[in-house]
């Protein structure tokens, strides 16, 4: 590609200081846990830092700190709580370059996404819920809504800081205190956030960060003094949590997997639909619960659309997440790479046709080339199971009725996309899709004012918008 063998344009890694080791953030202080684990950069497998592993006593201490902080925090006038949230939002904006680099290092996502998508949305979430803090009586949940108490929150590795914002901002705005467990492969931005809380002089114990793996999450979710559990992650873990919480009186919201249909009708704006398909499945390496992982394309334009899609995919730049021109970064972990590999091999075995553009993958780290499977049927595993990687399954349909039927024929129901230049068709189809979010002529668009959540196995409860307050109020 001539001059478009773009010379490297790396964002400087030195803008952020990464400590060699991090403790647990409990009661406003960093302290040791019962053991430690390492977090690595998935792009080169080098260790970034050693992080404390929270045992059950550590989780006890964190929940106790949150409980102690609760009366004073929930007793503050909403306008006072809002001041802290506004302050946090501003500090995040000021330190967004540090946070973007840190997020890309720990997660593997391209810097252009952490810089242009994750960080602006994180700040926007805190700004948005800061605005609600003194208006809760007018939010439609009764004249005097009250916070629940201590919220135990467990978040995934695909959008580490953004998921933290989705969880913490509404919890704090409504007067709850928080114990949050980030994913074990991506703890660093949450620990950085702990420092932001200190910088904002947030009272000790209002936010506590406990790092660790599945056991730490279980201690938190099963802790008797937690009033509310919020989880984003896999449907399997969601089921375990629902079982653990059943009968305890804890409130629960779950945001789980998805297998979204992205439906392209023959009257779509093809070039923009191609962009939407690419954004739908290759954004964040496809590590997106609402990713448009099933492309349903009207048979009459399938060939033309796939030609365009393949040509477009050939321009995707896979590589160093810190390079400003990288479009697709590293797969977050060896385990996730193994899962993607396993499912795509099942796609081959079941007779679907695999295609990837020619692209050279780095020797170190975890990588998977952008991939599409054509000739996929509803019976294939790659059409039913969430791959959570840069892999698109392409199916065709003949009529709108068939498109709707196929789109809904999944145990999930988190999101869907419709591509058509015909407004009446968009409205008619959107009405019949059983998905929490339906995007029309766009995909993967997020906004703090818009509620987000799923149908069926994609979970329950809503995050974002006015609806997102409800999960944290009685």
């Amino acid at each position: 590609m001539s001059f478009l063998d773009y010379a490297p344009a790396p964002e400087s890694r030195s803008v952020v200081t990464i400590e060699s080791s991090y403790g647990l953030f409990i009661d406003g202080e960093f302290g040791p846990g019962k053991a430690t684990f390492k977090t690595i950069n998935p792009a080169d497998e080098q260790t970034l830092a050693e992080v404390a592993l929270a045992g059950s006593e550590d989780v006890d201490r964190a929940v106790a700190a949150a409980r102690r902080a609760f009366p004073a925090w929930s007793g503050l006038p909403g306008a006072e709580r809002a001041k802290y949230l506004f302050r946090i939002a501003r500090i995040i904006q000021e330190r967004s370059r540090e946070l973007a680099v840190l997020e890309s290092l720990d997660n593997g996502k391209p810097i252009k996404e952490s810089r242009d998508v994750d960080l602006p949305l994180v700040a926007a979430h805190f700004f948005y819920y800061a605005g609600w803090a003194d208006k809760l009586e007018y939010a439609g949940f009764g004249p005097a809504p009250r916070p629940l108490g201590v919220a135990g929150q467990v978040i995934p590795w695909n959008f580490p800081l953004l998921m933290l914002a989705w969880k913490i901002a509404p919890a704090l705005a409504t007067g709850n205190t928080v114990v949050l467990k980030p994913a074990e492969t991506t703890p660093l931005s949450a620990l950085f956030f702990a420092d932001v809380c200190r910088q904002a002089e947030l009272p000790a114990g209002v936010v506590n960060i406990v790092t660790g793996a599945g056991d730490t999450g279980r201690y938190l979710v099963e802790h008797p003094d937690v009033n509310k559990v919020a989880f984003t992650g896999s449907t399997d873990v969601g089921r375990q949590i629902a079982r653990a919480v059943a009968g305890t009186g804890k409130r629960l919201t779950l945001e789980l997997g998805g297998k979204a249909a992205n439906i392209v009708f023959d009257d779509a704006a093809i070039d923009q639909a191609v962009e939407g398909i690419v954004n739908g499945i290759f954004f964040n390496q496809g590590h997106v619960c609402c990713a448009g992982s099933r492309l349903l394309v009207q048979e009459s334009i399938a060939e033309e659309l796939l030609d365009s899609l393949k040509r477009r995919m050939a321009t995707l730049r896979v590589g160093d997440p810190l390079d400003k021109n990288t479009d697709v970064g590293a797969i977050n972990s060896a385990a996730q790479l193994a899962r993607i590999t396993e499912l795509t091999e099942a796609g081959d075995a079941e007779g679907a046709e695999r295609w990837s553009p020619p692209c050279e993958l780095p020797g170190q780290g975890f990588w998977f080339a952008p991939t599409i499977f054509t000739g996929v049927t509803q019976a294939h595993r790659i059409a039913r199971e969430e791959i959570f990687g840069p892999v698109l399954s392409v199916l065709t349909f003949r009529t709108p009725a068939e498109a709707i039927e196929k789109a809904n024929n999944t145990p999930y129901g988190l999101s869907a996309g419709i591509w058509s230049e015909k407004g009446s068709r968009i409205l008619a189809v959107a009405d019949k899709l059983r998905a929490g979010v339906v995007w029309a002529n766009t995909f993967n668009k997020f906004d703090p004012t818009s509620p987000f959540g799923g149908f069926k196995e994609s979970g329950y409860g809503r995050e974002g918008g006015r609806h997102g307050l409800e999960a944290y109020l009685v």
Binding site: S2, F3, Y6, A7, A269, D271, K324, E421
Partner: protein, 294 residues
Amino acid sequence: MHGLPGVDKVGVEARAAALSTRSIKTTSKAAAIDLAIRMVDLTTLEGADTTGKVRALAAKALRPDPADPSCPPVAAVCVYPAMVPAVAEVLRGSGVHLASVATAFPSGQAPLEVKLADTRDAVAAGADEIDMVISRGAFLSGDYRHVYDEIVAVKEACGPAHLKVILETGELGTYDNVRRASWLAMWAGADFIKTSTGKVPVAATLPVTLVMLEAVRDFRAQTGRQVGVKPAGGIRTTKDAIKYLVTVAETAGDDWLSPDWFRFGASSLLNDLLMQRTKLTTGHYAGPDYFTLD
């Protein structure tokens, strides 16, 4: 014409904005600047143009940076038909093309015979590229046949000269119209499709150019014939020019990254390219007085 796929305004503008975030540095930037210089149609289209003025411009086209012989010449000089003889004298044998606007530029509101005579005169005087305008009035009233026939007639009048068809996208109002006009011009025989005259408030924009690049790409895929693209008006900085080159490369592809297939209609752009070029080679900026004003 109405069977062409639609263009989603939000989507195409988002794509153009995304392409604008590409970070082109060091060696890539140097290559891009030299390529952009070689793609410039150095233009003056003023009522006040004189032979003296256009001769100076032609001299600049040949040697844009007198201080640096390694600096390549531009693609062409673009003037009104009356100025063609003066420019032809300077450019003769140089390889730099001589473009002339014709067909009652910029409005196109003249009888066909006048437009054809305008075209023939310019070619006879030495122009080897003709930049014609389409009848936007006819296009907007839905009389595509009229627009098509005019382009066919002008193409014939051009003889061996290359025909660039100016769509005046700022007057077409929608991206759908830009796509339709692009295909119409290509079907009628255009060698290049060009965005603007530079004489209406909205000239070239990146999303419009993106839509036109998609059109030439799809047209070649369908017919096998390659057509060039020329954004004109409003492109003044190296940064802008690089955004266009990125868009060319990632939309139409490598085949269009040459002065034969992509041009910038510009005047002040050239000095900014020269200034950035000097900065890259010497490591520091020279003041504007170190570059010629013509």
